[in-house]
Amino acid sequence: MIPADLRYTKEHEWVRVEGDVATVGITAHAADQLGDIVFVELPAVGRAVEQFATFGVVESVKAVSDLFAPVGGEVVEANEALAGAPESVNSDPYGAGWMLRIRLADPAQLDALLDPVAYEALVAEA
């Protein structure tokens, strides 16, 4: 199921906005397509990320895949727990598998993201 309270990118990242902080991860569909995730490379806290630019890398046993920032801003937290438990991206992609918290540079950027209905349609096409 695709959570109804999130926004999405075409590259299968999700974002949850609380106040001016956006939490970012990859969708269950993306995690399933990648297979067993064994490594996640994330930017350091304090780094700036740009909307739709790559912010890191996720590696499954078989493949390497870039991560794209749904929104731009300053990284205020990276999920350190993924270093020891990258498999939580597969098991709990919208919860323990979160990746970054970004302080939103411009809330208007959210308008460029897919809503759950549009994302569901994208996944259905794939």
Binding site: G35, D36, V38, F39, E41, V57, E59, S60, V61, K62, V64
Partner: protein, 367 residues
């Protein structure tokens, strides 16, 4: 290859299991069923069942079969006892590797050569050409043969009740004719996982029967279907080379650490002999090593390997080892940097991760 990929005789089974399919060497193959790590562990801890119908099966018959094969490949199959097998290679005249092979002796004048799917046509053509003028017939039965592997500590116990052939009498790298689930089969104790196990060759039309019979027999023991994804991580942990990664037309067997399969002095010579003799004398320019990545990230095929500021080589295969829990890789490096314990760096996305040269294989099964 622009043709549609071919379905193996086990296509229905993969479909029923919901396998994720990929195009591989002209075949539509399962890459995973439930997940690479889970399938990998099933083979290490219990047993796994593999569809290997894409592999090439080339039968060689005739009074000169042994001599003809000996002249075409790097080993000497004439030294094999009936029912025994050897790992071998077929090389180009310049010594480059065309493919790695397993050669089984089925009778005095009958051999089975198993080639990689990606090279089956090349090997078939090269053997046919090299047999011209000899009393040896090449019968390429790749499309007429189904090959299923059952690998892992529980493999023998699962296969034995179905097999009318004494599995205990087949030693590692042995083969026997018999039946499995009532179907005429060749049963070989070979594999590509680092575990004990068997490979079962039957007529293509009987592939599904064998697959289903093994699945049923293995249910209680936790036999899992295993795709190409875990086949790759299993062989990598076992330090086994993969053609296209560790082996190719630019690589000599000596560089791959496989000089033992080159019989330079065998009677009658063989294609590539002179070039390989020169390579043996000159010594390898690079050597295949195992790397345990100590820094962050996973080394992958094509990543550069550095010794300080000197680029010493390149990664040929790499993954996160499901068994060891660390990133492992194989790489070609300069001979001076190949000793176990040597600390090198792998360039992973513009940063360098420390990696230690370790002995191959990474994994040896407990006995």
């Amino acid at each position: 290859m622009t043709d549609e990929p071919r379905a193996t005789p086990l296509e229905q089974a993969h479909e029923a299991l919901g396998a994720r399919m990929v195009d591989f060497a002209g075949w539509r193959m399962p890459i995973q069923y439930t997940g690479i790590i889970e399938e990998h562990r099933a083979v290490r801890e219990r047993a796994g069942l593999f569809d290997l119908c894409h592999m090439g099966e080339l039968f060689v018959d005739g009074p000169d079969a042994g001599d003809a094969l000996a002249a075409a490949i790097t080993t000497d199959p004439r030294t094999l006892a009936v029912g025994r097998a050897q790992y071998s290679m077929i090389c180009a005249p310049n010594g480059g590797i065309l493919d790695d092979l397993i050669v089984y002796r089925l009778a005095d004048d009958r051999f089975l050569v198993v080639a990689n799917a990606s090279n089956a046509a090349v090997v078939s053509d090269a053997l046919a050409e090299r047999f011209v003028g000899r009393r040896a017939i090449l019968d390429d039965r790749s499309l007429a043969t189904a090959l299923v592997a059952i690998q892992g500590p529980a493999a023998r116990g699962i296969l034995a009740p179905l097999a009318f052939v004494d599995l205990g009498a087949i030693r590692y790298y042995g083969i026997a004719e018999g039946t499995v689930a009532g179907i005429p089969a060749l049963v070989a104790r070979t594999g590509y996982t680092g575990e004990d196990g068997f490979e079962v060759f039957v007529e293509a039309s009987a592939g599904m029967t064998i697959w289903d019979a093994l699945r049923d027999a293995g249910r209680a023991a936790g036999l899992a279907p295993v795709g190409l994804g875990a086949r790759d991580t299993l062989r990598l942990e076992a330090g086994m080379p993969l053609y296209g990664n560790e082996l190719d037309g630019e690589t000599t067997p000596y560089e791959a650490g496989l000089g033992r399969v080159v019989k330079l002095d065998k009677a009658g010579g063989f294609v590539g002999r002179d070039a390989l003799a020169k390579a043996a004398e000159a010594g390898p320019r690079r050597l295949l090593v195992g790397l345990a990545v100590r820094g962050r990230g996973i080394a992958r095929h094509g990543h550069a390997v550095w010794a300080g500021e000197r680029r010493t080589g390149v990664v040929t295969s790499g993954t996160m080892s499901p068994t060891l829990g660390i990133p492992i890789a194989m790489a070609y490096v300069a001979p001076g940097h190949s000793a176990p314990g040597t600390m090198l760096d792998v360039e992973i996305r513009e940063t360098r991760a420390a990696a230690e040269v370790v002995p191959l294989p990474f994994y040896i099964r407990p006995r």
